[in-house]
């Protein structure tokens, strides 16, 4: 990542992040945890896999995030016949100038919403995952750098699994966090309905209410500050122990790899910044353990038959891993 020219101070960064959080919460009602986790992934320059039933405001969340830092927003609805070129772009022969012209695809943006990523075949998924990992887009052998900041929010639908192509473990590992988005509470849903139906013709929430509080150029600076949040050795040790113990835990067929430890620390740093602290505590690591690890472990067949959920198994694991002391 290029070094930002004009560094922000830590306090400015904390304020900026808080303002972004408030702006998004004005439109996205009742999903505070999801908003926080998406912001954390952005600050830690990671990508997010969102799982939830349709109609819970995933698109709205991405749009509002894009709006609040004046970023460009792209959206791809993944279908079984989607081709890699539909994601990255393609070269088109122009009859007039007798030349090939590059048509850039929807991946050229700051925030990309990959809707129902598991509906497209592996080839197309791989094209997107390459963009995520390499931060560059190759069209007809020519490499273009991806936008900065670049973040992918891929969604998955937990129901209607027929005819889907589930992401392989290695590709799931590329996502920093897996965020579960659930139905809002009763009070929140009432607010939501009021907000959507009062004085509006269409039945979607508008992001017009959001003010742009930072510019796209500020995001790399915020990411830079996040990467410099102080982490004590005991906290490093704690994160590594959590990831390692998942490999021997009886409920898991396979545990999380070293990428999980890395993602745990990066997410914990971003969480500390979001909470206005200049250092990471074990609580940051623990609160990030579920979103970071839940897509990197696989339950054993016996536990799955027993109806144990991955989150429950991870909770049990966290209860057994000793927190750093003294």
């Amino acid at each position: 990542m290029t070094e930002p020219t004009e560094a922000l101070s830590l306090n400015e960064a904390i304020q900026l992040v808080q303002r972004m959080r408030q702006q998004i919460a004005r439109v996205v009602v009742g999903q505070q945890q999801v908003i926080d986790q998406v912001l954390i992934a952005m600050l830690a320059s990671g990508h997010v896999l969102v799982e939830g039933v349709p109609g819970l405001g995933k698109t709205l969340l991405v749009k509002s995030l894009a709006k609040c830092f004046q970023g460009q927003f792209g959206r791809i609805q993944f279908t079984p016949d989607l081709m890699p070129a539909d994601v990255t772009g393609h070269a088109l022969y122009d009859m007039k100038s007798e030349q090939f012209k590059i048509r850039k695809g929807p991946a050229f943006c700051n925030l990309l919403l990959a809707d129902e990523i598991n509906r497209a075949p592996a080839k197309t998924q791989a094209a997107l995952l390459e963009v995520m990992q390499e931060k560059q887009i190759t069209i007809e052998g020519k490499a273009f750098p991806a936008f900065t900041p670049f973040m992918v929010l891929a969604t998955q639908n937990p129901i209607e699994q027929e005819g889907t192509y589930p992401l392989p473990e290695a590709e799931l590992d590329r996502f920093m966090l897996k965020v579960l988005i659930d139905y809002p509470s009763e009070g929140e849903e009432q607010d939501l309905v009021k907000q959507v139906t009062t004085g509006q013709v269409q039945d979607t929430l508008s992001v017009a209410a959001i003010e742009s509080v930072v510019s796209a150029a500020d995001i790399p600076r915020l990411q830079h500050i996040t990467a410099h949040i102080q982490v004590d050795d005991a906290v490093f040790d704690y994160a590594v122990r959590i990831a390692r113990s998942s490999r021997q835990w009886h409920s898991f067929a396979h545990g999380a790899g070293p990428r999980a430890s890395i993602a745990l620390i990066r997410a914990a740093r971003a969480n500390a910044l979001l909470e206005g602290r200049e250092f990471v505590t074990p609580d940051d690591v623990k609160s990030m353990a579920l979103p970071v690890m839940r897509h990197r472990v696989a339950l054993t067949a016996e536990m799955e038959i027993e109806g144990l959920k991955t989150d429950q198994a991870l909770q049990q694991l966290l209860q057994e891993v000793e927190a750093p002391r003294l």
Partner: protein, 506 residues
């Protein structure tokens, strides 16, 4: 026994599901279980084989008879393994002798032919009950799952026999058709030349079936206890208690945790209601007189009407007489047919062995009953009480590791410029106090903020405030490396005595 460390998902199951889970366990720990069987049984097999060189089937019978001894070692292993994944089979084997010989007389004589032996085994082996109490306990356990235990035994025996037959069928199938040997399958089994092979095949079959039989019975037993003692509910409570204990419930939770951590060897509470006879009678009458028993419903459906049964032939003599007649009839029926003679001989030999076994068992039982011989109870005196709850909280904060006067020790450290050590001492002392004196359900996986949250929920305000400020300073020093001012440190030291007080203020 720490229920939260149990390596299976605890929930009430149907008995056959429980047996299935037992089989999964047997598959997972198959090698150690087979080794635990082979190490004691193989020498016995070799010795008995040498003794009964001419009659190898006797060696097989002996091993079959001694099976409960070897199986009890396997049972001990899985019962330990279920709650602690780090147990090694060699460790179990070291105590194998005392485990196998514990209640040996009962295992070999009085309980040897029990129909649901593997289901009954944990009661004697793990709960170490004998006599009347054992019988009561078995009655309670059998009420829901007795028949499954019986079928498990039946299936185990069948599979053993099938394995033995399988060895011979395989050999028989390999004889080429062209060889034109006049050779029947029954001859293969009844030829004395092949008795050694039958013995070995039988031994291998027992070795392979034993882990599944023992694990199936054990899980049946665990499942029955899950039903009776509601282990699943208890586990859920413990889960809740670690997350959302409400203020004022901590004592109840501590009691709950204590009961949950009772040893497996400790006696479970009887699953019977504590009402006296008269009250029960009264209650039954009330219920019987209630509306539920006075609803009148009319139902119409088709029913098959049996034809009147033919008159039963006259019964003569007891079942024993009839059995004898049947045997004689069989023998007479076969006497004339020369070809099947060997099969009949084989069946008769088998019957002879079983009958002799019964005679020995009855004689031994009579000796046991009338000469008042007490079976030597090897492990009975070693019965241990449930471990004290000191290990309840995994926190390695023993009170011995702290100095008597914490404040002066901390101040000395501070003056020696060891700021981190000084604050760490205070924090550790505060945690120790909360765990040991205030019985806060803290464990080693709780982070600083979780400890603080629990303290604020359960403790009076002044104590919570002090702990909050101590935690803030500690977190800032430990993770942000921000030094603490002397003023703050002195304020903490000055506030310490109020925190340490036994009686809550206000």
């Amino acid at each position: 026994m720490n229920l939260s460390k149990i390596s299976v998902q605890v929930r009430p199951r149907n008995p056959y599901e429980a047996i299935d889970l037992g089989f999964v366990m047997a598959r997972r720990w198959f090698i150690p279980l087979v080794l635990l069987w082979l190490v004691p049984a193989l020498p016995v097999m070799v010795v008995s084989y040498l003794i009964f060189m001419d009659q190898p089937l006797w060696a097989l019978l002996l091993i079959w008879w001694l099976k409960p001894l070897f199986e009890s070692i396997q049972l001990r292993y899985i019962s330990e393994k279920l709650f602690d994944d780090h147990v090694h089979w060699r460790h179990t084997l070291r105590h194998g002798r005392s485990v196998a010989l514990h209640q040996w007389f009962a295992k070999l004589i009085t309980q040897r032919l029990a129909f649901s032996r593997s289901f009954n085994m944990p009661v004697g082996e793990l709960e170490q009950l004998t006599g009347k109490r054992r019988q009561q306990r078995l009655d309670t356990l059998h009420r829901g799952a007795g028949s499954s235990g019986l079928w498990l035994t039946f299936a185990g025996h069948s599979i053993e026999s099938i394995l033995v037959f399988a060895v011979f069928s395989t050999a028989w199938m390999f004889i080429p058709m062209e060889m034109d040997i006049d050779f029947e399958f029954s001859m293969l089994l009844s030829s004395p030349l092949l008795f050694p092979t039958i013995t070995l095949a039988g031994f291998v079959a027992m070795t392979l079936v034993a882990p599944f039989y023992v694990c199936g019975g054990f899980m049946l037993y665990i499942n029955r206890r899950t039903w009776l003692e509601a282990w699943d509910i208890e586990l859920t409570f413990r889960q809740l208690s670690s997350d959302y204990v409400k203020p004022g419930k901590s004592l109840a939770m501590a009691v709950l945790l204590l009961t949950a951590l009772g040893s497996l060897t400790a006696l479970p509470t009887p699953a019977r209601a504590e009402l006296d006879r008269a009250q029960t009678q009264q209650k039954i009458i009330e219920i019987l007189e209630g509306d539920a028993f006075h609803e009148i419903k009319e139902e119409q459906r088709w029913r098959w009407i049996d034809k009147p049964a033919a008159e039963e032939p006259e019964e003569d003599g007891s079942w024993l007489a009839r059995f004898g007649k049947w045997i004689v009839k069989q023998l007479e029926g076969f006497n004339g047919v020369e070809d099947a003679g060997s099969l009949v001989t084989w069946i008769i030999n088998g019957l002879e062995i079983v009958l002799w076994g019964l005679v020995i068992a009855v004689l031994a039982y009579l000796v046991y009953r009338f000469r008042h011989i007490r079976a030597p109870d090897v492990a009975f005196d070693n019965r241990t009480q449930a471990p004290p709850p000191s290990h309840l909280f995994g926190l390695e904060l023993s009170q011995d590791s702290l100095p008597d006067d914490i404040i002066s020790a901390a101040q000395t450290l501070w003056q020696q410029q060891q700021f981190r050590a000084a604050l760490s001492l205070l924090y550790r002392a505060a945690l120790t106090y909360l765990v040991h004196e205030r019985h806060l359900p803290l464990n080693s996986s709780h982070t600083e903020q979780e400890c603080l949250r629990l303290c604020l929920q359960h403790e009076p305000q002044h104590r919570g405030e002090f702990f909050q400020s101590l935690t803030q300073h500690w977190v800032a020093l430990a993770y942000a490396h921000q030094p603490l001012s002397e003023q703050d440190f002195n304020a903490l030291c000055a506030a310490w005595p109020r925190f340490d007080q036994q009686e809550p203020v206000g």
